[in-house]
Subunit: 240 residues, 2 copies
DNA sequence: ACAGCGGCTGAAAGTTGTCTGAGAAAGTAC
DNA sequence: GTACTTTCTCAGACAACTTTCAGCCGCTGT
């Protein structure tokens, strides 16, 4: 069957996101990468702008920094929902003292991630919330590639039917590889997506984790994780 | 092997609720989480609005704050019942003198919770009242998972046939775990649902109570309460 | 063939998350 | 009031996980 290499973009779901964040750097990071991930992204940099943007664009989900210059995140949500909108939310919160005092973020099917976060973490949450709230139909929480299975909800991983235990970073890396199966990923790219955006270490950590993953989930034939020397890594079935 | 993961939402009963509460934050808290719990929720923020909303929407149950800007809860109920409606009520009340006045009113199958309450507490009451009043097609008051049994009415808990004594919080936590069996619950999520909404402490209390529960109900094989490091807890049968 | 680069991996150090015992604080019963 | 239960906090121990480092191996190009 040689090659087919459906060179598709990750193509989430074409879901419409509204990203609300006052820090220009983070906003840029988010909107660029969420767009690349296949979302239809609009943005706002203040609470009041967010409320009206939500009215006009009626997004499927809002990514919302809780700390905003004018209104805080809770007010924004309250105003949005007073207008009859039932949009689910993924909150962004800082890990400072205020973090403990923030409660009620997981209600109504919403979720939150603390800064600094990794892009994989955020997109995983977004997808999970969309999955939960897009009522009724599909629930594809299980990624499958060859005889590798990864359940995003229960965090279970199987290789050739065998249950495998992964650490959090191993899990995130494997999910990233599976979401991008058949696509070559450079170490820099992996670092940017799987590690938190403030990580200042060396590429070598990716090599280390690839090594851990190989030992745990790629210790049987056929090998699925391949190194392209000087280029990166790719998850694919060996050529026949 | 692999999967079973009954991917159901908590899906209460599609019952129609009318929530009456003047505090915008609490109203948002209630409507978001009750909706997500599967109820069909409408809201009102004053006594007079409540009376007409009850006429129009004819809900199966009313969640009613006793302290309202115009009419108080008692008046609301009186007017509703003058109109011939015999809708059951769960009152929300502050822990003050009115608590006693409520007691007299709850003889007729109604119930009340005192502020601040936990969402588990409230939904448990709602479900209990609905169970009692929708006679005929009885809803089961007994939760069962593996050899764990929990009776919501008598508050009895059995593990492997053995009776186990739990404190109120232990009971609520276990019920929450059982209602969400096979679903991974973060500590934040547990805190948001099982603890009162004004709790300002830290996550560690969840760890403590998980520890208590394990000692009391998970001290035999197979272990059912599992830790997912960095993610949360899950009630499930061990991997096959 | 050899030098040099890139990648692999074992080991060790550093960090973080979870569990649990002890006890203070708050609540309840008698 | 006292005795008892329950809730909540704290800190130490421990285990799991992350990150770094250094040496080795093998590929690649000349």
């Amino acid at each position: 069957m040689g090659h087919m290499a459906a060179q598709t973009q990750p193509k989430q779901s074409e879901a419409k996101l509204l990203v609300v964040e006052d820090d220009a750097n983070i906003l840029e990071l988010l909107s660029a990468s969420l767009r690349f991930a296949g979302f239809d992204v609009s943005t706002a940099t203040s609470g009041s702008a967010a409320v009206s943007a939500a009215k006009n664009a009626s997004p499927d989900l809002v990514v919302l920094d809780v700390m905003l210059p004018d209104l805080d995140g809770f007010e924004v949500i309250r105003l949005m929902r007073e207008g009859g909108q039932r949009t689910p939310v993924v909150f962004l919160t800082a890990r400072d003292g205020t973090e403990d005092k923030i409660r009620g973020l997981t209600l109504g099917g919403d979720d939150y991630v603390t800064k600094p976060f990794s892009l994989e973490e955020l997109t995983a949450r977004i997808r999970a919330v969309l999955r939960r709230t897009s009522q009724g139909d599909e629930a594809p929480s299980r990624l499958v590639f060859a005889d590798l299975e990864l359940d995003e909800e229960t965090h279970e991983v199987y290789r050739a039917g065998q249950r495998v235990q992964l650490s959090p970073t191993e899990f995130k890396l494997l999910r990233y590889l599976m979401l991008n199966a058949n696509r070559v990923l450079s170490k820099a790219q992996i670092l940017d997506h799987v590690w938190k955006y403030d990580f200042r270490g060396d590429d070598n950590i990716v090599e280390s984790y690839i090594s851990y993953l190989r030992r745990k989930v790629d210790n049987v034939q056929p090998r699925l994780i391949h190194t392209l020397r000087g280029v990166g890594y790719v998850l694919r079935k060996p050529a026949v």
